[in-house]
Symmetry: C2
Subunit: 356 residues, 2 copies
């Protein structure tokens, strides 16, 4: 594995599409550089011509051969489609990348290293695979070691899936570093793992081991970290994915919670499950954790991307009034305000832990 | 797969051991007949000589060859050890059973069908494998179909693992059938699956799919079932296994809950997590489910196996006083009392569902 990856991102036919969100996440937040995008449907332009909000100036080229002049170390599969399988148009380009000895990085459900054609060709060239969703083995059963980490652990929880929990923690990490602290983002899903360069896709772990996986993540942070920022998954009240959320709540053993919510959303997508008032939602999480290992909700992260500036301000004020906690949209306004709240709460937590 | 299995149960060296609990569960509650036990350390005696509470008179023999005279269809691996691997002394006997074309039934974590020596020999004899812990594929994502089943669904929840949740539901099924109802026990763990002949070991399912697995189980009960009795797993407040429990709570979408507890137990085994008062524990489950799909706790199943008769009676009375719900030890006293409570609550539920 390269120490610093230089990514050629394969989005063939999807660069204009929302399924390229894996690519955009890595471009916007990744620690590794995106040196080129391979997509013949937009070759000749640059990413920021099409997607200014992604803040990436990489050139778009039409082939792996063209991308090689930008000296990539790795080919990143830049899509996350519903079935999690490789789009047919990608196959020939992945083979080209294997022949060029690029590392192949994929977050698909289908593991590319297990594909006989790919693995056969990789044997010849020496190319490596990183299927980021493949859980490490063995994952131990949860032991309680997470209760004894020296860091203050903060977990993102939320009212639904796909409301920006990952972005919230990445923005908080950025704000914390700018403020001179040593926060570490801990990735628990495929895009987060590509951004951070490590992590475990907890939704892919056998259910008996999901708490053990979360525990392993928080016990393995860099020793000089002071605040661990754990990416959230799912939602406690989500009928399909609630158990994954609870796995993070118990396994990462947070001290503090950041509650994430899309402003105005009334019920969980695809299910007739109403989202409670934010103060009740915060209390539900706190009450459940109080039985096992207490944690306190200290900030509300609102996603106001559907609202105009004025409505966003009002939604933020309403969330503060409802919960008595600081609220903000960290993508729209930066994360300084919420970072300050977390940082203060973390200091109190650390003081209490030292005293006990 | 045989329609009615006749089991030769392999416990070689473990018949006196608590690790043989898989064997005892199948003997005591199984729908399939145990015709012989293979264990050279106790050959010549019968199971009820050693373990009268198991209520099984099968002869103990020293080899697969000796067991064949009782015409078994299947060899059952009768142990559940910690690592979930095959004890070394079992290998030669499994090979003998494969050569005799017996079906090999195992609840180990290690799948026997994936063992090259076993599968190679089975190819020659035509023997089949049933690794009961292997999840069926594909398991769909939870869809909400569980909300629309015609049965009343009852889920066992509890204060800890290994307190007898499976036995409670099996005793309730027995009492319900004796009362002329049509309950169906739904197995969610390895021993339960062997007893029932079908089911899914939900703790072995990838966490994203655990609710879908539970949903599949309750949507697949026999159509003439009136009350579905879902075997519980883990405990909501268990730091390691709580997510598996929540998977059953959301995925099987129960109408009613039976709360199981070992009388006198103060905290979750191996963890410093106090068990709350039973009324609080019942309310915790109800409050969480109220956000998603409401369910009501209607009975307390106490395990009083550590107590004498008088202390057991007092513990049951105390549980009733604490919760205002009927309580009993269904293994000690039979399940009629709790079955009646569940049956009444189920009638109310069914009436309400018809009205809405």
């Amino acid at each position: 594995m390269p120490t610093h990856r230089r990514y050629a991102v394969l989005t063939e036919g999807f660069i204009a599409d929302r399924h390229a969100k894996t690519a955009f996440g890595v471009m916007r937040y990744g620690r590794d550089k995106v040196v080129a995008v391979i997509d013949s449907t937009a070759a000749g332009s640059h990413v920021d011509d099409l997607h200014p909000h992604v803040r990436c100036s990489a050139p778009i080229v039409s082939s792996v051969a063209d991308a090689l002049s930008f000296q990539p170390t790795s080919l990143l599969i830049g899509v996350a489609n519903a079935g999690g399988f490789l789009p047919p148009a990608f196959r020939a380009r992945v083979l080209d990348a294997i022949d060029a000895r690029l590392e192949i990085v994929s977050g698909l459900h289908e593991f590319l290293a297990d594909d006989p054609e790919f693995s056969g060709r990789a044997k010849l060239s020496g190319a490596q695979f990183w299927d980021v969703r493949r859980p490490p083995e063995p994952i131990p059963i949860f032991s309680g070691a997470a209760y004894r980490v020296p860091q203050v652990v903060v977990l993102a929880v939320g009212s639904d899936c796909a409301i920006g929990k990952m972005s919230v923690m990445l923005e908080l990490e950025r704000a914390g570093r700018a403020a001179g602290a040593r926060p570490e983002f801990v990735a628990t899903g495929q895009t987060g793992i590509m951004i951070a360069g490590s992590g475990i896709a907890v939704d892919r772990v056998i259910s008996d081991f999901v708490t053990g996986a979360a525990e392993q993540l928080v016990t393995n942070v860099a020793t000089d970290t002071d605040i661990t920022l754990v990416e959230g998954q799912g939602a406690l009240h989500h009928p399909a994915y609630g158990p994954v959320t609870l796995g993070l709540m118990y396994g990462s053993a947070p001290d503090l919670l950041v509650l994430c919510h899309r402003a105005g959303q009334q019920s969980i997508e695809d299910f007739d499950v109403p989202i409670p008032a934010l103060r009740d939602l915060a209390r539900d999480h706190e009450q459940l954790l109080a039985r096992v290992k207490p944690a306190r909700c200290v900030a509300i992260a609102l996603n106001t991307s559907d609202l105009n500036e004025q409505d966003a301000l009002e939604a933020i004020a309403a969330a503060e009034l409802d919960t008595g906690l600081p609220a903000d949209d960290v993508v729209r306004n930066g994360a300084d305000k919420l970072w300050n709240a977390i940082s203060r709460a973390a200091e109190e937590t650390a003081k209490r832990q030292r005293a006990s």
